[in-house]
Symmetry: C2
Subunit: 308 residues, 2 copies
């Protein structure tokens, strides 16, 4: 019921390799699936992780570099072949519709489901999705093309009801919902007001997940992601390649960790590794560097599931 987890389908950079798929993740929020980026081979990642693709209602594209979106046409085609119904909303830069709609029309002319585009302006933070319990905001990033990350923010949860106390006071069940939302209760017979804090305890803190890829070091993200529980931040290169990272609009492990530290996040996931790292051992240098700044850091890996 309260599931909030991220499955890493791909955490490599530009080129698909035998070790890493290009960027793709699935955020499962209480059974609703959001696909974040859609690199080539995403269908294999979805199959390998037994993701129920029929439950993907939204696809979020951070930017329109091939390694973040070239799996989209095949995925939509396969979902159509699978007689998927309902709607899939693709949230992306406005160019996405111009690029991809003609491909859907050509390769999947008879789709069984509706596919629509909702564009956002990567230059400013805005809410792109909202329901009763979840808010998704864009995070303006600093890359070679317009790029945004995504903040998945669970809405404040209900306060915990002190059920025995409510019963003892004879509060009818019908009032419970309002009390959980923070209302005081007024006894209709005596007029006595019972303050909410006597009827409830604080709610479980709501959780949040921030996805920041691709981006060079940018402190502008800090106020948006401040205090989030888990941050996925790209670290394409190690500290020795700081100049290369800047020139290519990417970050180093040290820079990712510095953002995590300054934003006071709970946990940092590194990803988007350059293909210059030839083994898991090679990539450990990224982890070692980051942990010196932000100890609670993990290297993301394909098939990893992270509970938020």
């Amino acid at each position: 019921m309260d599931c909030f987890k991220v499955t890493i389908l791909g955490c490599g950079s530009a080129k698909p390799t035998l070790r890493h798929a290009p960027t793709a993740q699935v955020v499962n929020f209480r059974g609703n699936l959001f696909l974040v980026d859609c690199g080539e081979g995403v269908q294999i990642g979805l199959a390998r992780n037994r993701v129920p693709v029929g439950k993907i209602g939204h696809i979020l594209l951070s930017h329109l570099h091939g390694d973040h979106c070239l799996g989209l046409v095949g995925l939509i085609a396969s979902l159509g072949l699978g007689q998927r119904t309902g709607e899939i909303v693709i949230h992306a830069h406005r160019d996405a519709e111009r690029i991809f709609q003609p491909l859907f029309d050509f390769f999947s002319p008879d789709l069984s489901m509706k596919v629509s585009f909702q564009s956002f302006d990567p230059g400013r933070s805005s809410v792109i999705y909202e329901d009763d319990s979840l808010l998704i905001k864009t995070i303006p990033l600093c890359h070679r093309v317009p790029t945004a990350g995504f903040l998945f923010q669970e809405k404040p949860r209900d306060r915990h009801l002190l059920a025995e106390k409510c019963d003892a006071l004879g509060i009818p069940f019908a009032y419970f919902r309002g009390i959980k939302k923070g209302l005081d209760w007024t006894n209709p017979e005596t007029g006595e007001v019972i303050p909410n804090k006597e009827l409830t305890t604080d709610p479980t803190p709501s959780k949040s997940y921030a996805f920041c890829s691709d981006t060079m070091y940018s402190e502008k993200v800090i106020p948006i992601i401040k205090g989030c529980d888990v941050l996925y931040h790209e670290s394409t290169y190690s500290n020795v390649d700081t100049l290369k990272a800047h020139l290519r609009g990417h970050s180093t492990s040290v820079e990712a960790a510095t953002i995590a530290l300054k934003a006071e996040v709970g946990r940092l996931l590194l990803g988007h590794y350059s293909s210059q790292f030839m083994s898991n051992e090679d990539e450990e240098i990224l982890l070692d560097e980051a942990r010196q700044i932000f100890p609670n850091t993990t290297l993301s890996r394909e098939q990893m599931v992270v509970e938020i």
Copy 2:
């Protein structure tokens, strides 16, 4: 030097699965590489088989269904990132340029190599490539969209020189090339004509490989592929699904084997298996059915290398 082999990168059908990649093959003819179809994930197949991608000069697309060409944009992007130079020629239906050129422009605006399109008419057999030793012809196929297979035909080889006999007759070295090509030799001093058949023996038979996918059963291909050494013919379904195969423009194992038999080919490779087959064992039914008609049949598998 005389290498002529096919590496299967993908032999599945529409959907990429954990067992099969979509269609892609590499034909290596004496070190020149031809990529035949280019399904999503082709780069993984190329890497897994350690194919020297820098030697791919031509990409041949049988038709413009996604499972045969959606790996193209990513492949071209990666070759560009790899600072590949020279030219890559994409041979395909004329719509390919309209569909893919805008994607190359968008996703790979600064390619290091030239990429050009050469269109062919899938409705008639024509030569689309020729060099000193190889000819590639299209094979009109019968599918839901315009589709052509490809016949790779080694040109007739040189006759084998009877070197000792030539030496005994005092024939100068400079004449050997012409004699290997079939010329008689005239002794310039005596005027005596030595017939070629006394100076040579028949050449090693030249080899040929035919790729026929996707297609429903069509006897029109027979005169074109007649006697080829190896035929890859799709067999999406087993005999029990003959009607389904026809409705979807595909073939059964029995139909593939019947074509192989009537065309008197040397060996048949089946492929393009429906995702309804869930295991290698499931697919054995295709093999069993085909072998009853054409015994020298093999199921193609990813990573299989077939010497022609």
